[in-house]
């Protein structure tokens, strides 16, 4: 179980997140819904360790991981954009995390796992393709498969569908829900769209707009 207690984040002298607390039960999908500018992305970045906390703590299964290095937390994240490694093929992107989590995996086992994930997202034939040749929807699927590959304790999804047109978006949301259920992944999802939250999440938490306007 993930517990965030009284999280405060200050960036460039501006308080972005104030006294934020949340619990995410293992196996659940929790959606965090709020308008843009409410600091949702920052919360996710602070949970996985990309951004430091000004105060407060992050606990996983009762252990304080606030100061733990990012790569040891086993918290995966799918970013809004620009997170794929464009100098690698699709397959190498998905395989990237596997070698760190289980260094003893043989190349054959890695290839098998990558193929399995490609099947899961319905892109079996895309392994050798180049990232820049893919559409926006395809790229988000790869990012999801890549984040799931090392079997993280917790997966953070930051507006994964925001850049897509609505037909594609709903198709993808259905797929993702199936994938998440199939892999039994614990998820914390951030979105500004309540419908999206409803479609994916077992629990929805609303976040208040920022009390002090940022700009």
């Amino acid at each position: 179980m993930l517990e965030v207690c009284n999280m405060n984040v200050v960036l460039g002298g501006v308080s972005i997140v104030q006294d934020f607390s949340i619990q995410v039960l293992t196996g659940s999908t929790t959606a965090l819904v709020g308008p843009s500018g409410s600091g949702k992305t920052t919360i996710l970045q602070a949970i996985c360790g990309v951004i430091p906390l000004a105060s407060g703590s992050v606990l996983y299964d009762g252990i304080d991981i606030t100061e733990q290095p990012i790569h040891q937390r086993k918290i995966g994240m799918v970013f809004q954009n620009s997170d794929l490694f464009s100098h690698f093929s699709v397959a190498r992107n998905i395989a990237f995390g596997l070698r760190f989590v289980s260094p003893r995996l043989s190349p054959e086992m890695i290839a098998e796992r990558v193929q399995e994930l490609l099947r899961l997202i319905g892109m079996e034939k895309f392994g050798d393709r180049h990232i820049n040749d893919l559409s926006g929807g395809e790229q988000r699927r790869i990012a999801l498969a890549r984040a799931i590959a090392p079997r993280p304790h917790l997966l953070l999804l930051d507006e994964p569908f925001s850049a897509l047109d609505s037909t594609l978006r709903w198709r993808l949301i259905d797929d993702v829900r199936d994938i998440l259920i199939a892999t039994r992944t614990t998820v914390l999802l951030v979105t500004h769209d309540p419908h999206e939250a409803e479609a994916l999440a077992t629990r929805t938490v609303a976040i208040a707009p920022p009390s002090n306007p940022l700009k």
Partner: protein
């Protein structure tokens, strides 16, 4: 709608026609210049003095081989050390935001625009006497001089790495080192290669630094060319060495030039404020501190030494600069300063327009071949021995009506030719990044081609133009190789004067040299901060 299209169409056609005319004018000027002041003098030496059998003899001479060997290993080691020293500050400045960052970047860039003589003088001031003439000083000077190249070239590329890419790699379980080697390195590799090539070439053809810090023992090919041609009057061996150097440098530049000339994206991601990241703050602080200490100490010590005579504090070194005490040595500060400023201004007035012409053609041309050709041809002076260029000019322009040997204009034209590649580099990328549609919109809105050029192109590249002007002025002020060849009595510049003062024994005279060098450093820092 039809009317609009027609207008657009007409605009496009006139644009194309006037573009072609402009391109011809733009092309002829720099081509004529490079032909007259680069290819002609260099070709003349090659034709008159190059002899393949002498080249073979020279290669068989163990003395020359050891000079070649020293040149190679010191350039390699200098380049490696520069990368190591520059890495932390490049990381800090490209990945983080902190107060005073712009000042730090300017400070680290100062040695690059300083005359090499001054950098060498500062190193001499800071090193103990036992290390005064030797490898340590040479390497130290080369590193200080070149750190800015890594900071600028690699830093510009590194800034374009999206923070999400790095964060994704870390959340997938990669350590910071794994992330650097697997994700960041492939991205900045070509920029590092580019920087390595340029630094290697600068160190390989090093002249002023070796002349002052090398003592009798250490000599690069460039210094050897000078000794053979000027002090021994042995033009044929000097020419063989010129060819040897051209081949090595050409190879290195060819291997390290970025294969695709795609310009940087206009977007760079604004780095985060370091004060938000307590864990990394120490690293950034110590990187900045170490670099400033490393780069700044020699200049600070030089400044302090300019007030020291016989282990006492004294103002006389500074006073002597202006009260005429040094004039029996042929030192005339105001004249040297006047000459330096005059030569630098004329160099800027000639180089910047020439570079602008070439950069415009490069930006307006649609074929890769044209861009590549311009890049190669205009980089050639960078690969060529400045001493050789000086030598070539003297033996080329020796018959009326182009008998310019003893005229200062020849010196300035050498400066322009050497400055052209640097000026061009700073203009090409910004001009290429202006989308064609922006120029078309200006034309549709009724601007003439000339107005478009003025209000779109020139307005956008105003800062790069300033950079190009600054670099050209710096080259002219600091050039030492061709200058020591073409300089005539009465044409002394600040660097030649400093070299003369530092080359003289006597505590006061040395300190006066340090004083003059400090004065110059202060002027440069002032100019950079104002710009």
């Amino acid at each position: 709608m039809v009317g609009y299209l027609d207008k657009h169409h007409v605009a496009m056609i006139t644009t194309l026609a006037s573009l072609r005319r402009a391109a011809i004018i733009c092309g002829v000027l720099p081509t004529a210049w490079l032909f007259l002041f680069y290819f002609l003098p260099l070709g003349t030496i090659l034709i008159r003095a190059f002899d393949a059998s002498i080249l073979i003899d020279v290669l068989g001479n163990s003395g020359v081989r050891s000079v070649l060997w020293f040149t190679l290993w010191q350039a390699t080691l200098s380049t490696a050390l520069t990368l190591i020293v520059a890495f932390p500050i490049t990381w800090a400045c490209s990945q983080w935001n902190f107060t005073g960052k712009r000042f730090i970047v300017a400070l680290v860039t100062v040695p690059f625009v300083l005359p090499t003589v001054i950098v060498a003088g500062a190193i001499r001031a800071v090193l103990p006497e036992s290390l005064n003439s030797g490898v340590v000083g040479i390497l130290f000077a080369h590193v200080i001089f070149n750190v800015a190249i890594v900071l600028r070239i690699v830093g510009a590329r590194w800034q374009q790495e999206h923070p999400n890419t790095v964060a994704a790699s870390r959340t997938l379980g990669a350590t910071a080192w794994n992330t650097f080697s697997l994700i960041t390195w492939p991205m900045i590799r070509s920029a590092v290669g580019n920087a390595v090539g340029i630094i290697f070439v600068f160190c390989f053809t090093s002249f002023g630094i070796i002349r002052i810090l090398g003592g009798p023992r250490y000599s690069t090919i460039e210094v050897e060319i000078f000794i053979r041609a000027v002090q021994l009057g042995d033009t044929s061996v000097a020419t063989a060495l010129v060819v040897l150097q051209l081949v090595v440098v050409g190879l290195v530049l060819g291997l390290t030039m970025p294969r695709s000339l795609t310009p940087l994206k206009i977007v760079t991601y604004r780095p985060s404020w370091i004060s938000d990241y307590p864990r990394q703050q120490k690293l950034v602080r110590s990187s900045v501190f170490a670099t400033v200490l490393f780069v700044g100490t020699p200049f600070l010590v030089m400044f302090i030494n300019s007030f020291r005579v016989d282990n006492n504090w004294s103002l006389s070194p500074w006073r002597h600069l202006f009260d005429g005490t040094l004039s029996p040595m042929g030192v005339n500060i105001s004249k040297a300063l006047g000459n330096s400023v005059l030569f630098a201004s004329i160099t800027v007035l000639i180089t910047v327009p020439l570079a602008l012409c070439l950069a415009s053609i490069s930006a307006y041309s649609t074929t890769h071949t044209a861009r590549r050709l311009i890049a190669i041809v205009a980089s050639a002076p960078l690969a060529t021995s400045a001493v050789a260029l000086g030598l070539g000019m003297i033996i080329t322009f020796d018959q009326s009506p182009i008998d310019w040997r003893s005229h200062w204009f020849l010196l300035v034209s050498a400066h322009c030719t050497i400055a052209l590649p640097l000026a061009l580099r700073s203009l090409t990328a910004p001009l290429q990044s202006i989308p064609l549609s922006m120029r078309d919109s200006a034309r549709i809105l009724g601007a003439s081609p000339l107005q478009t050029w003025w209000y779109v192109d020139i307005a956008i590249i105003r800062r790069p133009l300033l950079v190009a002007a600054g670099l050209s002025a710096a080259v002219s002020l600091g050039e030492f190789g061709a200058t020591s060849f073409l300089t005539r009595t009465g044409n002394e510049t600040i660097p030649t004067t400093i070299a003369r003062l530092l080359g003289r024994p006597g505590d006061v005279v040395q300190s006066s040299g340090y004083a003059l060098a400090s004065l110059f450093v202060l002027l440069v820092i002032g100019a950079m901060i104002n710009a």
